[in-house]
């Protein structure tokens, strides 16, 4: 097989791995780097479960080839908490039951963090539009939206 050598930065740490061209970034994160917090839902860019930041842009890691990560900087759900200290989004999702089964949660958290970094005070409509690419089949979204609103408020207080 055509093995590609990739050097990339994930959550601030440098990683090297070998991958086949067909392997997505999602496959590489999970199967080569054993960072299994990023989930596979649809594998076609529809559900958002695999969301990561790639050079500062929110992307579906199922729609990125692993080899494309060469020289890039990636942020995943594993980089969100600082040690035992949860990110305010993680904390509010726990307190307000913003999740049930949890499969969509890493992707939603990564996406919501990207939103709050651009817009610290989004309206409910802005949150719903931003998260339109993140599907959850348990919560009905209301608790997700309320958790994001509560985290935004907490973060604005600093």
């Amino acid at each position: 097989m055509a093995r590609n050598h990739v050097t990339t930065t994930v959550n601030g740490d440098e990683y090297e791995f070998l991958c086949d061209t067909e392997q997505t970034l999602l496959d590489c994160l999970r199967d080569e780097l054993f960072l299994t917090g990023t989930k596979e839902g649809c594998a076609s860019g529809d559900c958002g479960a695999c969301n990561v930041m790639l050079d500062g842009r929110l992307v579906c890691s199922c729609l990125v080839l692993g080899v494309e990560a060469n020289g890039k900087s990636i942020e995943t759900i594993e980089g969100m908490a600082h040690g035992d200290e949860l990110h305010p989004l993680q904390q509010k999702f726990l307190e307000l039951n913003g999740l049930q089964c949890g499969i969509c949660t890493p992707g939603i958290l990564v996406a919501a963090k990207a939103l709050l970094e651009r817009n610290p005070d989004p309206t409910e409509t802005e949150i719903r539009f931003w998260l339109a690419g993140n599907l959850c089949r348990c919560t009905g979204y209301d608790k997700v939206v309320r958790s994001v609103q509560a985290a935004a408020e907490e973060m604005r207080k600093g």
């Binding site: 055509a2 067909e22 990125v64 080839l65 080899v67």
Partner: protein
């Protein structure tokens, strides 16, 4: 499966040489939001993937000769976030904003949307009515191609083997110009157009329309320019009578299919309704520019 090779050249010449020299099936990779899905569904089996995003000409938004040039692989979010370009070409932003979710737009590009050649591609009617010119490079050199001449059918383009769409030029526009793109979908987000309509027009100081372009998506095997729709607006104040003629021309231009997203009759009717609405938005924007 045989080895699928990956190359990420840093110059246009190197990319063209790789694509033109490939004996097997070579595929250009821009944002990958269509290519990767097709790859995993087995819809195409390339031997070589040429990632063009490391070529500087393909990425970025710059002013040029009073207009704008946008690299064909520039991500949708980079385009939407570019305030000066968005202010100059709001109709393009209408189209780009509708390409998938935020995370899909983090990768998806106008060049990819054009070359994937879906008849329902949201940015393509917007590019067509903007009069965007694609710079295409290939083994025989560079050519400038109006966007509407590139798609030829579902998944089919007029590009030759080894050719790449490098960038889009949006020429300098006269004052009082405005454009808009609207689509109809059953849902507000994350859906594929049942009908899409782009309208771009220019007014003189008295509010008379001096130039117009109209294009339709998802109603034929490729996005269509609607010359009769443009003619219905030119020379008028874009009043009710002109809008009525525009709607009729848009409906008449449709040659849609029946599918799960809409019937032939429905698409024909909606094309007229949306053309009128898009023209009103374009008119408002033209008055304000």
């Amino acid at each position: 499966m045989d080895d699928l090779r990956y190359e990420a050249p840093e110059t246009l010449d190197a990319a063209v040489a790789l694509l033109a020299g490939e004996v097997g099936n070579a595929r250009v990779l821009a944002g990958g939001t269509d290519v990767l899905v097709q790859l995993h569904e087995g819809l195409n089996e390339p031997d070589l993937i040429v990632d063009i995003k490391n070529i500087p000409d393909l990425i970025g938004i710059t002013e040029e000769a009073g207009g704008w040039r946008v690299g064909a692989a520039t991500s949708g979010m980079e385009i939407v976030d570019h305030e000066a370009f968005a202010a100059a070409w709001p109709g393009i932003i209408d189209g780009v904003k509708l390409i998938g979710s935020i995370q899909v737009k983090g990768r998806a590009s106008m060049g990819g949307n054009l070359c994937n050649a879906s008849p329902a591609a949201d940015s393509v009617p917007a590019l067509m009515v903007a009069g965007a010119i694609a710079t295409v490079i290939g083994p025989n050199g560079t050519r400038e191609v109006p966007v509407e001449d590139i798609p030829t059918g579902p998944g089919q383009t007029s590009l030759e083997k080894g050719e790449i769409v490098v960038s889009f030029l949006f020429p300098e526009r006269p004052p009082h110009s405005g454009g808009a793109y609207l689509r109809f979908t059953p849902r507000t987000e994350m859906d594929i157009a049942v009908v899409g309509v782009g309208v771009d027009l220019t007014l003189d100081d008295n509010g008379t329309c001096t130039a117009a372009r109209v294009a339709l998506g998802a109603v034929a095997e490729k996005p269509l320019m609607v010359e009769d729709g443009a003619a219905a607006l030119i020379g008028t104040a874009v009043d009710d009578a002109a809008l009525e003629k525009l709607a009729g021309a848009a409906s008449a231009a449709c040659r849609p299919i029946n599918d799960k997203r809409g019937t032939i009759e429905y698409r024909i009717k909606v094309a007229g309704v949306l053309a009128r609405r898009a023209a009103l938005i374009a008119l408002e924007r033209a008055k304000q520019s």
